[in-house]
Subunit: 124 residues, 2 copies
Amino acid sequence: MSEQENLQMIKQFWQAFDTLDFDAAGALLHDDYLGEWPQSGERIRGRANFVTINKLYPDHWHVTIIRLIATGDQVVSEVKLEHKDELVFAISFFEFKDSKIFRETDYWPEPYEPPAWRAQWVEQ
Amino acid sequence: MSEQENLQMIKQFWQAFDTLDFDAAGALLHDDYLGEWPQSGERIRGRANFVTINKLYPDHWHVTIIRLIATGDQVVSEVKLEHKDELVFAISFFEFKDSKIFRETDYWPEPYEPPAWRAQWVEQ
């Protein structure tokens, strides 16, 4: 697929999350899909596990894409997830094979209070 | 600069962090550098603030580059930071201008315990 087609697939992927349509998201995955969550050391292997975990996931997060970067067979997405008063970011590295999402590595950085020690050198 | 030169500059940048040489890292920045830390809502404007904050930052983190992606005037880095028994990841989006680092957005996702509810659908 072209970089533009890869970008389009990731837009569809996040759109499916936003509407809780995890079967639609799962349909974009390669049969040999592997997802990695380095923060917890977990790996999700295959479409069935991916769909099950996402259907069971607590809360409905509203998705806003901040930035997408495509090069070759890779896309990186920077996304904002919001649920009621909560905010979390998602940074995802995707790799494509056979016109499907083949590998995905996700990070979920959370907001924190800016520390006082550096306040004089930053803007809020 | 070419994508290869941008990649090379980001390798130098992280090498400077690894050796605590923040003047060397600062020398890679554009005069109108702006760094953004979305998790804390902080912005670091200009080389002097960047260098000061990094010199004051507690702990010496050892840097390992996991992945670098370059396209056009952008680079994304996925990095592992280790200090004694602590581990944190850094995901950074860089934009270049005039052969310098012009914009940088950083996320610092931290490790967490995998929750029990999804244990049967993941590998550790």
